[in-house]
Structures are given as structure tokens and as C-alpha cells.
């Protein structure tokens, strides 16, 4: 396998609902990546596209639509969906294509336009798609799942409502400094604790909404492109994990879960991160900056444990002691996290990788983690999807 580098990244800043089509957002991100890498379009030898599930035929073939905007060149274009880990799947395929020598330079991108109104079931066949059951019979929007797990955590460990609020306080402090962020207002612990419950114990400001956004990454093993790039970022490993039998987590869209654990919680993310540690030879203790999926304040805490940054039940202490702040032992989400951005489904995993790459390239201004050499982006997608990317400079 060859060494693979990120040489160009592009983002369309995160925002709310838009009447614009997804391909317009994708084009902005891809254009940004091409300019950042200073490469011509014809150098791109394959495209790994995250699909836009609400975009019909165009969204399901997002790679072809994107390619036609920039000019069709006959290269392999593959469209993938792995829920909120879709971008992880795209960059992993781009990496594998280049590392294996199939292509020298590959583009991974994802773009998502927040659906107007609510996310809900996408079919009407309850036998085939149990998502139909949770919407029609369960009355269970996504945050319910996180609240059920968060309550279990609070009963098992000493996680408090103040801890959950503190996550938002930190994320808002960093989001305010990030030009790509959708939410730029800062909050105090009191303000978060005064926000309404959405599903007790999780409050409005402790849950991320859906957003519009796009992200693109160009990876290469082409020496010429690496040499002319501004601070090329080496990908040490980029992996995907699925769930393991006996994982006690109740997964979004499921109506049941095992009561006797035979696997770690969030086993898909446990699996993705352990694969990445093994492949890269880099462990949690080596990571200088971490982007984790803070879909809710509960995720922020549990992911530190799932990915091995502390033992189970110790994340609250890490947070309280300031270890996860910029300047702390392990700066977490200096981007402001999903809390400051919201989820743009097929783009968000790539956005996390780009935030990490920007830290390693020293491009983060007021939220820069000084001297960051190794970074990790960790994703989480519903129904057992996760990806980990470890990068270094």
C-alpha cells in the first residue's frame, strides 16, 4: 500500500434549509478543494460520492451529477450511503483506491440540503423497514434514543445535568470562532440549563439539528501534487466499523436492544476506532486533536470512552477538569462540533476530516490547537455505521 495524502479540501459553510439544489453546494466544496490543492479537474481519477437521500434520482447518483458540472471524463464514479457515516465511506474508498494503486488521485465529497420540516420514515413497508414502526407506533424521533441512553448513563455514573450543559458551553465557545459554523452564539451553563427539555434529560441546546452543507477532500499519492501542496496531510488510517452482536445500545430506528451486553456500547464506533489504531500504529494517547460526533451532549461523553480516551464513566471528569478544552491534554471538537454546525448527513464525516486537516495545517486561527501533529475524526451513523480517520503532518 502507498502513502496517501490529503492535498486539498473544500467546504460550503453549514446553514439551515435552502431552496438551492444540493449539487450547487457540492460544486462550491469541490471547487474549493481543487483550488486548495492547486490541481486541474482532469487530474481527478475517481470520484467517491456521498449520496443525498432526499434528492431523488439526482441525489442517489450525486457523483454523476457532480461530474457533469465539472466535465465528464469517464473515470470511475461510485455513490455510497452509510447514514451519517456516509462521508467516512467515501474517503475510505478514495483512500483505498489510491493506496492500492488503482488511481493516483481521488475525490471524495458529500453534500446535503436539510429537508424542509421533519425527518421521517422513507417507506411505508413496516415488515421491510422497521423505521416505519418507530414512527407510526413508537412516537420516537431520533433524540429519544439518545435520551434513553443518557438516562442509563446518569444512573450508572455520576453524569449530571451540569455536565451535559457544559458540553454545549464549550462547543458554542469554539463554534463562535469557526467561519464554517452555522450557530455562532455563545452560551453559559445557566442559559443551557434554562433551555427547554426536548426529551428529558436532553435539552434543546444539547441536541444538534439538521443542516445544509457540503465538503470535499482530494487525496493523492502523486508525488508532484504532494510536493506542491500546502502542508499535505498524511492519512494514517481510514476505517469503517459496523455493530457487533450483543451491543446493548438501542440504535436509532430499532424498537429493542439486548439487555445483557456481550459487546461494547456503540460497537460500530468501537470497531472502527480499534481498526484505525491497529492499522496506523497510533493509539489514543498519541492524538493531539479529536473531532467526535456530538449529536447530543451524551455523545460527547460516551465517545471519549468508546474510542478509548478514558475508561467507562470517566469522561465527565475529563470534561470538568478541562482536559478536553483547547490547551488541555486532548482538545475535543475545536470546530464547535455538530452542536455548532448541525448534521449535514452525507457531508459531515468529510467536514470532520477537513476540520482535523485544518488543525494539522495550522489554519484554525483563534481555535488553533498549537503544535497539533496527529488528529482523529470519528463518526457515528444510525443502524451500526461508523468511521475513523487518523491523520498526521
Amino acid at each position: 500500500m502507498r502513502d496517501v495524502y490529503i492535498v486539498g479540501t473544500g467546504i460550503h459553510p453549514w446553514m439551515g434549509f435552502s431552496e438551492q439544489v444540493f449539487a450547487d453546494f457540492a460544486a462550491v466544496a469541490v471547487d474549493g478543494a481543487l483550488k486548495d490543492a492547486n490541481v486541474e479537474w482532469h487530474k481527478i481519477q475517481s470520484i467517491m460520492a456521498g449520496i443525498f437521500i432526499y434528492g431523488g434520482n439526482a441525489g442517489h447518483l450525486s457523483g454523476q451529477y457532480l461530474e457533469s458540472i465539472f466535465g465528464e471524463t469517464g473515470i470511475p464514479v461510485v455513490n455510497v450511503y452509510n447514514a451519517c457515516a456516509t462521508g467516512s465511506a467515501a474517503i475510505r474508498m478514495a483512500y483505498n483506491s489510491v493506496a492500492a494503486g488503482e488511481t493516483d488521485t481521488a475525490l471524495a465529497f458529500g453534500a446535503d440540503v436539510s429537508p424542509k420540516g421533519f425527518l421521517t420514515a422513507k417507506s411505508d413497508n413496516a415488515v421491510q423497514d422497521r423505521d416505519v414502526i418507530r414512527w407510526k407506533m413508537g412516537g420516537m424521533p431520533n433524540p429519544i434514543y439518545w435520551a434513553l441512553e443518557c438516562r442509563k448513563r446518569m444512573a450508572k455514573y455520576d453524569t449530571t445535568e451540569e455536565d451535559l450543559a457544559l458540553v454545549k458551553v464549550l462547543m458554542s465557545e469554539y463554534g463562535a470562532k469557526n467561519p464554517h459554523a452555522r450557530f455562532k452564539k455563545t452560551y453559559s451553563v445557566e442559559e443551557v440549563l434554562n433551555s427547554v427539555y426536548v426529551c428529558d434529560p436532553l435539552r434543546l441546546y444539547e441536541i444538534c439539528p439538521v443542516s445544509t452543507g457540503a465538503a470535499a477532500v482530494i487525496v493523492t499519492a502523486d508525488r508532484e501534487l504532494i510536493d506542491k501542496a500546502d502542508h499535505p496531510v498524511k492519512i494514517n488510517a481510514t476505517t469503517m466499523g459496523s455493530a457487533m452482536y450483543g451491543d446493548p445500545t438501542i440504535r436509532i430506528s430499532a424498537l429493542s436492544c439486548p439487555s445483557v451486553p456481550e459487546a461494547p456500547m456503540l460497537s460500530e464506533s468501537y470497531s472502527a476506532s480499534r481498526q484505525a489504531y491497529e492499522k496506523s500504529g497510533i493509539g489514543p494517547e498519541d492524538i493531539d486533536v479529536l473531532e467526535l460526533p456530538d449529536n447530543s451532549s451524551w455523545h460527547y461523553l460516551v465517545y471519549l470512552e468508546t474510542c478509548g480516551f478514558c475508561k467507562e464513566g470517566e469522561a465527565d471528569r475529563m470534561l470538568r477538569d478541562g482536559l478536553t478544552r483547547i490547551g488541555g491534554k486532548l482538545p475535543v471538537n475545536p470546530s464547535g462540533g455538530f452542536s455548532s454546525h448541525g448534521e449535514a448527513l452525507s457531508a459531515q464525516a468529510l467536514w470532520q476530516v477537513i476540520e482535523c486537516a485544518n488543525q494539522l495545517r495550522g489554519r484554525c486561527g483563534d481555535r488553533q490547537v498549537e503544535g497539533a501533529k496527529v488528529a482523529m475524526a470519528q463518526t457515528y451513523g444510525l443502524m451500526g455505521n461508523s468511521g475513523t480517520t487518523i491523520m498526521s503532518i
Binding site: 421521517t120 420514515a121 412516537g139 420516537m140 429519544i144 428529558d200 436532553l202 430499532a254 424498537l255 429493542s256
Partner: protein, 144 residues
């Protein structure tokens, strides 16, 4: 018990009241021992032969393993005639079967909810259909 004859589940094969008790319709794999809910949510142990999956009913009663209170109306296709927010959602554990099942909490003081409390399976009427039948889902209530 209310007149169950005039009730219909909004989606079939999830909740049964034909025995006079309300019970969830599960399936058990006799090869790997795993219980599934809903029945088609197969989650076999890796390497299982997947032979001998049979339909079973879960016990009426279980213990509350976790809960939350939903303060906002659930968007469509969820539908109730009357406003039910705020409503509880419970994760009820059936110990013998090693499974926890999620469902709406009904007929229970939400302030009294506590992990470990005994819950029983029941139905919740969501709305009345054109045939004047009560359309129900499964639900859990604190054992009184």
C-alpha cells in the same frame, strides 16, 4: 378489560391481546437463543444456523430499564386524536428473554418514573378509524 374486539393495531403482528392479556409479539431463535422484536428484526449470533425461529409472546410484565419524557409532538406519520405530549417513552426489560423493548408510557404519573420499577404491557389508543375501530399501539404502564 375494555372491549378489545373493537381495537385494531395500526401495524399488525406487533402486539397481541387474543389471550386476554396484552403481550408483545416476539420471535425466538432456538439455535442461538436470541429474542427479536419486532419478529423480523433478526439479530442472530454470528455463526448461528438460524434454524428453528418460532413466534413467541413476551411476558406481560417487565422492569423499566430507562425512560425519557418527550415534550414535543412526534411528527407524522405518528398520529394521535388527542394531544399526548408530554409523554413518556420507556425501555422495558424482559429479564428471562434478555431483551429490552421501547414503547410509549401510558396511564402512569410521569413524575413517578424510576429505573427498576415494574411495568406492564398494555395498549394505547391513538385514533379511531373510518370503521369506528380504535387504532392502537403497544404501550407500557406502571404496575399499580
Amino acid at each position: 378489560m375494555e372491549n378489545m374486539a373493537n381495537k385494531v393495531a395500526r401495524i399488525p403482528d406487533l402486539v397481541d391481546w387474543s389471550t386476554g392479556e396484552v403481550r408483545l409479539m416476539s420471535a425466538k431463535c432456538n439455535s442461538c437463543g436470541t429474542y427479536f422484536f419486532p419478529r423480523e428484526h433478526y439479530q442472530h449470533r454470528p455463526g448461528c444456523s438460524r434454524e428453528g425461529v418460532e413466534n413467541v409472546l413476551l411476558p406481560v410484565k417487565g422492569k423499566l430499564a430507562s425512560y425519557t419524557i418527550q415534550y414535543y409532538p412526534c411528527p407524522p406519520p405518528f398520529k394521535t386524536e388527542k394531544k399526548i405530549t408530554p409523554y413518556g417513552i420507556g425501555l422495558v426489560e424482559f429479564e428471562q428473554e434478555k431483551i429490552q423493548v421501547a414503547g410509549i408510557i401510558t396511564d402512569t404519573d410521569l413524575d413517578s418514573l424510576e429505573i427498576g420499577m415494574e411495568m406492564e404491557t398494555t395498549t394505547l389508543t391513538m385514533f379511531t378509524n373510518d370503521e369506528k375501530q380504535q387504532v392502537v399501539t403497544w404501550a407500557f404502564a406502571a404496575v399499580k
